[in-house]
Symmetry: C2
Subunit: 476 residues, 2 copies
Amino acid sequence: MAPPHVLLNAFEMNAVGHLAHGVWSHPEDRATGYRRIGYWMELARILERGLFDGLFLADVTGVYDVHGGGAATAIERAVQLPVNDPAVLVPAMAAVTRHLGFGITADVSAEPPHLFARRMSTLDHLSDGRLAWNIVTGFLDSAARATGAAGTLPHDDRYDRADDFMQVAYKLWEASWDDDAVIRDRAARRYADPAKVRAVRHDGPYFRLDAIHLAEPSPQRTPVLFQAGASARGLDFAAAHAECIFIPADGGPGTRAIVQRIEDRLAAAGRDRSAVKIFGSLQTVIGRRRAEAVEKYHDYAAHAVPEAALAQLSAATGIDFGSLDPDAPIPIPPGGGNAIRSILAGLGSAGEGPPTVRRLLAGLALGGRFRPLIGSAGEVAEEIGRRVAESGIDGFNLVRTVAPGSFIDAADLLVPELQARRLYKTGYAEGTLREKLFGRGPRLGAGHPAAAVRTGQGRAGQGGAGQGRAGQGRGE
Amino acid sequence: MAPPHVLLNAFEMNAVGHLAHGVWSHPEDRATGYRRIGYWMELARILERGLFDGLFLADVTGVYDVHGGGAATAIERAVQLPVNDPAVLVPAMAAVTRHLGFGITADVSAEPPHLFARRMSTLDHLSDGRLAWNIVTGFLDSAARATGAAGTLPHDDRYDRADDFMQVAYKLWEASWDDDAVIRDRAARRYADPAKVRAVRHDGPYFRLDAIHLAEPSPQRTPVLFQAGASARGLDFAAAHAECIFIPADGGPGTRAIVQRIEDRLAAAGRDRSAVKIFGSLQTVIGRRRAEAVEKYHDYAAHAVPEAALAQLSAATGIDFGSLDPDAPIPIPPGGGNAIRSILAGLGSAGEGPPTVRRLLAGLALGGRFRPLIGSAGEVAEEIGRRVAESGIDGFNLVRTVAPGSFIDAADLLVPELQARRLYKTGYAEGTLREKLFGRGPRLGAGHPAAAVRTGQGRAGQGGAGQGRAGQGRGE
């Protein structure tokens, strides 16, 4: 039996610096063009040329102000600051592509549910059903202070709030308009049937609402749901809601154990493994020959700023690495151990012995915490195939080193080598992003919590191939 | 001296039905295509062909559920429902135009200020400084219930809250990053100067915040500000903040008095008349000859649904017109008199005597409350010139009857006639939307409240031609 195809998303951010800090300064890097819409339209074309499944846009709504006790490093080195709104990029990119999916990160701690739900429906309409949403709960006190709060909620409370947010969003997306509510009867001048549209009500611990969803049903209704929870509570949330799960692993040693943990949670939640795609994250440096790739790597590394990556790690862990003795073992605060250990464990080049700041910096040679996979396109393709087979993941988010050069290399050099090994599709499937990814219908299946809120004719449209779309009259 | 040029915005909504209810059912109407991004890109091209100053997108975040005691008419007739997010349309339209401005309506009662401010900055970047924001405070209880509130705040409290929101937004846009904060020094790998970026703090009656603005300075920083307040408190708000003011008048009798009231308020607020553009709203039905226009009017009217317009009027006034005796005088509730009288006064064809529902319906023959200006392009151009000269307004928001046919008629028939009479520009001015409209710098001038919050180098960039832009390095 042929191995399943590897899924690939481009991992990006509406920002100068994403995960290879400092490399924006490379002469070939064009990330400072993020403020122009043409930059994004060109990227979308590159990715569709490479049959990428999606462009995945990270986001953060605060700044990294732990390192050095302030945001100076983040500001100076463009460490995910400035960072612009990702959602507004989608329609222009959708206009120049037919198949590429668009994953938007949005923080349930910061968005008002009804306007957010409408924006997502709008994007799903305008992209003809190619929208995904990466659900995040917000971990930065600086982001919480931007909402007027004193700081973030405790970790598990954030997920309780996220659960409540999801219920509101599901109701708006799935229960307010029936599949056959929109009739567009020009002769009778009737656009929709009032008997098939209703206000949805919610009275939860965090959110209240009594409203008709402002948008008519979009092709997928609920966008494809991505999530990256790594804690116990986060994994439970992901096992309940996510269709695609990001894991903090590159497919190498240790990845299989993470995948197993997710599979156990899915089983406990009563969801089939085939209902979820698991994505690792991978940074590649690819050349036509190995020597060219190695040369590129050193060239990129010469432009990277490892200290800038430290600013991001400081915010992620709550440890001010700038204040530590670079050669002393990093003190792991009680209670904060999991996230920190998982981050440090990912830094392979940190060397033996207890982690120190100096070892951390050595592991951040490309300005971020990924161990790059360096080689000829054929070598990288081989290794990707091996990692997917061994770890049980379904694909990767590809991290850019130079923008958009890393994605051009992936589309034009890596993808043909993956295809030659039958590891990658040779054309897109038709239909919405959900149909492309899962080969079933455009809507969430009956086993998903979103299906539980459906009412009226909406209940009939659960997941079956082609179902749920018939009544939406997109062909008009 | 030549008369000043008439300004023209297209008045639209990301919806099937905007202000000519029922006419979506006309065979030539393509408004049901609002769900496709190509529809909007084509509209933007049409408008730029006609040298329109802007595309102005209305919005509403609730439903019209007063008429008949529910939303049935609004749902059935697509009375501004469904209504999709307007902001996400801008970048794709900006990509296919160079000069057209984009006015986005957003409700300060529903948006979280920090994410909203970032979205606007992002759009100002992506459109290269062509963004405007129509500030609304929300008047629908149904919109308030969608936020979890029991209903809207009292009218004047809504404006107090809006004032507080503006302070937060101004601080984020104008005071967080200095003009010369962004350096993009590749050799030194320094993107910005930390000494010139700061968290802004606000502790107001409605909003609190302590945050660095996530977006670097956009060409205009604060978008061009539109407002349409008609009450005493609303006019005060507009006189303080707005650069462009919409008035509920079509340039005919009564318009001059409204303009005078605004001019008095501006003087009281210490703002120069030249710092503000005043826009009426106008619906035109234009033919190559007058007879063709009259024929079009009857054709459109045959597809309109006046009862649908009544649903919108019911929500705007709080009176359920569906429950009234059609021939009895409409009872005007104490306290709610101003808005209702102003609306009824605009309905010229309502006839003599006290307003009744039957007379109202007669005034809604095109499915909305505008008295259409019907004639050959030359006749309409003449009349527009006359109205602008007599009323003292600066231009019009043009209401569509059929989409996009009404705008095609305006661009291709009306505009040449206006130009022939030297009433309209023959080319766009260069620069941002603010520069195009006011011929001064890209940023708000020193007399505006936004300028009062500026700090550091930002203070130097107040309004002078070309100033405030030098440090932003857009040319990189």
